[in-house]
């Protein structure tokens, strides 16, 4: 993985010292809150319902065991002993004291981490496929390009006061696991007609109160032009993006109002003007960064593992884990192991300090010192020998980390919601817990098959509800929580936004409502191979809506 050089280390250390001084001045009363708020936000410090919250970037979701152990240490030393992995490959601590934040940032800097640009109207943490570098369906590892974008965008003076926040995602595989079409910029690595690898470019996607799927600006962008083209997009947005209305300030609104053809023309014009500038990426620099992300030495192994097969044949629980949580690796004899942070009835994305330390140790023992964090709020060991999966599973199971539910109905994405968040209008986590308990038996989840449920506690959509096969949006109506359902969303390469089913449901009704949708799917599917999304796309909203509102006619609010 990428290691800080002297410049990076000095850059982050300077920033910690600067924030230390700012916090001291705030606590001494030399800065007012109005003066201090933008400074703390630039360092990832929010004020939430119960306390401050510190959001830490995990660039493109890649972590070392040393870093994860340090996060565990911080959780214990300064917080309540746990952390929350978010829907954008960040980690949030929910209870830090402001006075401790400089010390936390100092501890993070010691392991080459920081919280810079995890908030504010700037280019946020650049995200990528969590299976990057390991996936069997990958054209090229997207992380070197995410790292190049990260370095270029960190404290970029021209792009530190954008009209609104700006999110970039990079994907290198056939399957889009980085949700690139719902980002401000999405880069997809592709091969052109003459065998060169570059990027397909999407602009203007996003969720929030005005969800939009990104528009394709380019079918092919040479790698050398990655920064120059990103610069051109940001320049057009910075100049023309709306600053008069916060709710219309994202680039998706600019693209929508300007039209994609005009947006493309403006970007291309700016790109032509600037492409000869020093933003052109030399191949040597690309190669230098790529070297940090080289596949670890993986000794040759047979494609199948007799040890794994034998265990799966006699242990049904292990067989389920292997079926759902182990994904094919690009190297025969290896697998990518998803460690679910969605135990049945648990809090999506939460991990205790002890669990973090266990995962760090397991990564060292079984996975060549690499850990990934997914925007689906799970952890991943990307390089595990299939022969080692049984032993790894046993250790995970002992730690309560072997829930076999990746991509299943209980692998629920949920924002912190009203239990923590100052912006939320309704709770998310308790709804996720109740749905998980209702549908979480192994027999039932196996029967239902792949199904994503995404829950947001407000219209800002941090729980990505628009792109859940079933999306749940928590609102407040007349002083009580109300939950709207959307159906048919998807964040993958066949991206679609969920459609609203109808009026919302009460807290008491929402779990039954989800169960009705699931049962309706089971009745409607053509066969077991047709998953929920495929069935919805075939039959449409009508039968689901009919089933929902027959049951709740007159009670839905």
């Amino acid at each position: 993985m990428y290691r800080y050089d002297e410049f990076d280390a000095a850059f982050v250390a300077d920033r910690v010292r600067q924030f230390e001084d700012q916090v001291a001045r705030r606590l001494a009363g030399e800065l007012t809150e109005d003066q201090f708020r933008p400074l703390r936000l630039m360092n990832g410090v929010y004020l939430q319902l119960h306390a401050y919250m510190l959001r830490i970037a995990i660039p493109y979701g890649t972590l070392s065991p040393r870093q994860l152990r340090q996060l565990a240490y911080i959780a214990r030393r300064y917080d309540k002993g746990y952390g929350h992995f978010t829907t954008r490959q960040n980690l949030q601590f929910n209870w830090p004291a402001l006075a401790d934040c400089p010390a936390i940032l100092n501890d993070l800097a010691a392991v080459e981490m920081h919280a810079i640009q995890t908030s504010g109207n700037c280019i946020r943490n650049v995200t990528a496929d969590h299976f990057a570098g390991a996936a069997a369906d990958e054209l090229e590892d997207p992380r070197p390009y995410a790292e190049i974008l990260r370095q270029w965008s960190s404290l970029h003076p021209e792009f530190s006061y954008l009209p609104r926040k700006f999110k970039i995602a990079v994907n290198g595989a056939t399957e889009d696991r980085a949700a690139i079409q719902v980002h401000d910029i999405g880069y997809q690595l592709v091969k052109n007609g003459i065998g060169e690898i570059g990027f397909k470019v999407y602009v203007g996607g996003g969720l929030g109160r005005t969800p939009m799927i990104g528009h394709k600006l380019r079918d092919f962008l040479p790698k050398a032009d990655l920064l120059a083209y990103t610069n051109a997009i940001l320049r057009v947005y910075n100049l023309e993006g709306r600053r008069d209305n916060k709710f219309k300030a994202r680039i998706k609104i600019l693209v929508h109002e300007k039209g994609v053809d005009e947006m493309r023309a403006a970007v291309e014009e700016e790109f032509r003007r600037e492409r000869k500038a020093p933003l052109s990426l030399p191949q040597a620099e690309i190669d230098r960064i790529r070297a940090y992300f080289a596949l670890p030495p993986l000794p040759e192994r047979p494609e199948r593992s007799p040890a794994l097969d034998a265990r799966a044949a006699k242990d049904a629980e292990f067989a389920r884990f292997n079926r759902y949580n182990v994904t094919p690796h690009k190297v025969p004899g290896y697998g990518i192991v998803t460690i679910s942070l969605k135990p049945i009835g648990g809090i999506p994305g939460d991990a205790t300090a002890e669990q973090m330390e266990i995962v760090a140790r397991l990564a060292e023992t079984y996975a060549h010192d690499e850990i990934r964090v997914s925007h689906e709020q799970n952890l991943i060991l990307p390089h595990v020998a299939l022969d080692d999966v049984p032993a790894l599973y046993d250790e995970l199971a002992a730690a309560g980390l072997a829930t076999a539910n990746a991509k299943l109905v209980t692998d629920i994405i949920a924002c912190p919601g009203l239990d923590y968040c100052a912006l939320a209008t309704a709770r998310s986590i308790p709804i996720a817990q109740r749905i998980s308990e209702r549908l979480g038996s192994p027999e039932r989840t196996d029967e239902i098959g792949p199904l994503s449920i995404n829950i947001s506690g407000c219209i800002n959509a941090c729980g990505h509800h628009h792109v859940g096969h079933i999306g749940i949006l928590g609102l407040e109506k007349g002083g009580v929580e109300s939950y709207q359902l959307t159906l048919g969303g998807s964040a993958d390469e066949n991206c679609s936004l969920g459609q609203l089913a109808g009026p919302g449901f009460t807290t008491d009704e929402i779990v039954d409502s989800v169960e009705i949708l699931v049962d309706t799917y089971l009745e409607l599917r053509s066969d077991k191979a047709e998953d929920f999304l495929a069935t919805y796309r075939r039959v449409g909203m009508a039968p689901f809506k009919k089933a929902l509102y027959e049951r709740f006619q007159g009670t839905a609010i």
Binding site: R26, L27, A28, G29, E33, L47, Q48, L49, H50, A51, Y52, A75, R76, R77, Y78, D79, K80, G81, Y82, A97, L98, A99, I347, D350, T352, A353, E354, L418, D419, Y420, R427, I429, P430, Q433, E476, G479, V480, E481
Partner: protein
């Protein structure tokens, strides 16, 4: 309408309430009850002074009700502010 005055404490962000003695206490039950508009205005004036003195942030009036079981905030948001998350998060046994 019964009310109390709440805020976040600057140093650590935790929820506090203006007590009858004028200091800031973490329990809603320790808050001074505000039973008139005048009392609410006076409490807000104290809060503004506390903001200026860099003790608290974001003061707000919270509607409450009293019952034999104790004092509770009327809205869900303020109830969660008073009682903490409604979920049982798992922390480390050795957390600070």
């Amino acid at each position: 309408m019964l009310r109390v005055l709440s805020a976040n404490r600057l140093r650590d962000g935790i929820i506090v309430y203006l007590s009858p003695s004028g200091d800031w206490r973490p329990q809603i039950g320790e808050a001074a009850l505000l039973t008139s508009e005048e009392a609410s205005e006076a409490a807000l004036a104290k809060a503004r002074a506390a903001v200026t003195a860099n003790l608290i942030l974001d003061p707000l009036i919270v509607d409450v009700t009293e019952s034999p079981k104790g004092r509770t905030a009327l809205s869900l948001r303020n109830s969660i502010r008073a009682l903490g998350p409604t979920i049982k998060f798992k922390g480390s046994s050795t957390a600070a």
